[in-house]
């Protein structure tokens, strides 16, 4: 059978299969209904903007240790306010959370009909260690990213529907409605919109909830999104410096979202950011100095790259002196002085190179290389499904 006959066979086979499709389903009606729901959501966002201002004002009162009249009718005994905090980032939003909270999942859309969380509990410690057992008693920060292929339907049903065992913050859980929800036993879940992203906080401590909500604002450490198609200048320019002057390293993780506009291409959105100290930055540079050229770990597979980590090495004044782009796909490696997400001149990613920056939330946010022998599973979520 020659090529033309094969092509004809392919045409006829697809045609035959397409004829079996049920085209009577009311998809257009469903799309119209979905659009009406989205419009309703946008109207609510305007109200949420007002609530952000109100929350910010409340935060000022709390800072002065004045009683919060607005929370006087709330149930729940306020515990001591945490003394150490860290900042979490999602798209163009940042928010402060207690430093010892772990990482987990948050509700996310799966197809049009389903919203699931995979899994809404702490699965990674604050330091970035994968917990051997999920710990429902550990407070956590959840993102709409699957850390496991075991998922729970949202809104929660059955045993999951009761009050949570620990406080949580969900970043970017778009499926969660704006406003306050009573979870029972004094627990309340409050959701606001900040710079286009949902922020959900659930606690039985109103003061803690308001402290977290009041801290939310636009992010500034990393670019909130990066054009995945740009071949150069995808990031702000910088003056290259001496690596010996490195004093810290900013870690920015991105995940691609499909563009809706034909002309705009794809955009990768910020999913996590942190900064590691001088020691970690130097360990990274030392491991890179021993690096080897990158290679395709799964040459027979077809794949699309959808996540990257951008590493900014900074001097003592906070100026970027080098920017490396970590590619996480079958060709896993680091583009030294990378200027975009499309480059391909890579140093092979090894556990020693990943370890200094794959800390904190990285093992809960980044899937990591697709191929290889799984040598870096501890540093990343790893393949799912």
């Amino acid at each position: 059978m020659d090529e033309r006959e094969l092509e004809q066979l392919m045409r006829e086979g697809l045609q035959r299969r397409a004829e079996d499709v049920d085209t009577s389903v009311p998809v257009v009606d469903r799309a119209r209904a979905a659009r009406r729901r989205r419009r309703g959501g946008r109207a609510a966002i305007v109200l949420a903007a007002a609530s952000v201002i109100a929350v910010a004002a409340t935060g000022v009162v709390l800072a002065g240790n004045e009683p919060n009249e607005g929370s006087s009718d709330r149930v729940g005994e306020p515990g001591p306010m945490p003394t150490e905090w860290r900042t979490e980032y999602w798209h163009d939003m940042k928010v402060d959370v207690p430093a010892d909270w772990g990482y987990g999942g948050a509700p996310m859309d799966f197809g049009v009909r389903d919203t699931v969380a995979c899994y809404a509990t702490a699965m990674v410690s604050a330091e970035g260690k994968r917990l051997k057992r999920h710990d429902p008693s550990l407070p956590y920060v959840g993102r709409p990213i699957a850390l496991t292929d075991v998922c729970q339907k949202y809104p929660f049903i059955g045993p999951d529907a009761g009050p949570p065992e620990a406080p949580y913050v969900w970043l970017g859980a778009a499926a969660v409605g704006l406003g306050t929800e009573n979870l029972g036993d004094g627990w309340e879940q409050e959701t606001i919109e900040v710079n286009g992203s949902r922020l959900t906080v659930a606690t039985d401590d109103p003061a803690l909830r308001e402290r977290i909500l009041a801290s939310a604002e636009g992010g500034e450490t990393c670019m909130s999104d990066v054009d995945t198609q740009a071949e150069s200048d995808a990031f702000p320019r910088y003056v290259r410096g001496n690596p010996d002057d490195v004093a810290s390293m900013t870690v920015c993780a991105y995940q691609a979202e499909e563009g809706e506009d034909v002309t705009s291409g794809q955009t990768a959105e910020l999913t996590y950011a942190t900064t590691v100290d001088k020691v970690a930055a130097r360990e990274y540079l030392e491991a890179m100095a021993l690096g080897e050229p990158g290679r395709d770990l799964c040459p027979t597979a077809n794949y699309d790259q959808f996540e990257w980590v951008v590493l900014d090495l900074n001097d003592a004044d906070g100026r970027t002196i080098r920017r490396d782009v970590v590619h996480l796909a079958c060709v896993a490696g680091i583009d030294v002085h990378g200027s975009s997400l499309t480059s391909s001149n890579l140093v092979r990613l090894t556990p020693d190179i990943a370890r200094p920056w794959a800390v904190g939330g990285i093992p809960a946010v980044v899937y990591g290389p697709t191929g290889g022998k799984g040598a870096m599973l501890e540093s990343f979520i790893g393949p799912q499904g």
């Binding site: 045409r11 699957a146 499904g385």
Partner: protein, 175 residues
């Protein structure tokens, strides 16, 4: 019978979203089915694409090719769902009964085509559908999916090679 999304498409410039969508939904569902491999996933992907198209209709209808715009959304809605879940593999298509009484060998060949297609990664399968169901050329496919024409041609070549191997295996098994 509407064949492919590209055939008999109305000029969207002066149409309301409702008129355009009602005229195109059957073809989009067929396209969605071939791309996703299941009725359920096709409905989800087309509904998602139409919701976005409805929201942006004033802009969509001004596009050079609104159909291409929405087809890309259908493909993206499918690929995005799997990306978000972190899955790296293509879903296995549901097995469908066919009610056609064509000669057995044609049915067998059509089944071989479908087995090959459902075994392809999502984007690769989209290329095959666009090439052989929508009859787009490689430049059009590349522009629609945001890949290079060379990649599109390579995907098609791989799919045809797989189909040849599938048919050969089948013949060997029969013999």
């Amino acid at each position: 019978m509407d064949v492919g999304v590209t055939e008999s498409r109305p000029d969207a410039t002066g149409l309301s979203f409702d008129d355009w969508a009602e005229a195109r939904v059957a073809a989009l569902l067929r396209f969605g089915y071939l791309v996703t491999g299941s009725q359920h996933a096709a409905e989800d992907a087309v509904q998602s694409a139409l919701t976005r198209a409805c929201e942006k209709w004033s802009r969509v209808r001004q596009a050079d090719d609104p159909d291409a715009y929405v087809r890309r959304m259908v493909v993206n809605a499918h690929v995005s769902g799997w990306r978000k879940s972190g899955r790296r593999e293509s879903p296995v298509a549901e097995v469908r009964e066919t009610s056609h009484a064509d000669p057995v060998d044609r049915v067998v060949e059509a089944d071989a085509v479908w087995r090959v297609c459902t075994g392809l990664p999502a984007q690769q399968r989209a290329v095959v559908v666009l090439r052989f169901y929508e009859d787009l050329d490689y430049d059009e496919i590349a522009a629609l999916l945001g890949i290079s024409p060379v990649s599109a041609r390579t995907y098609v070549h791989r799919a045809l090679t797989s189909l040849r191997a599938e048919l050969t295996t089948q013949e060997d098994g029969d013999g």
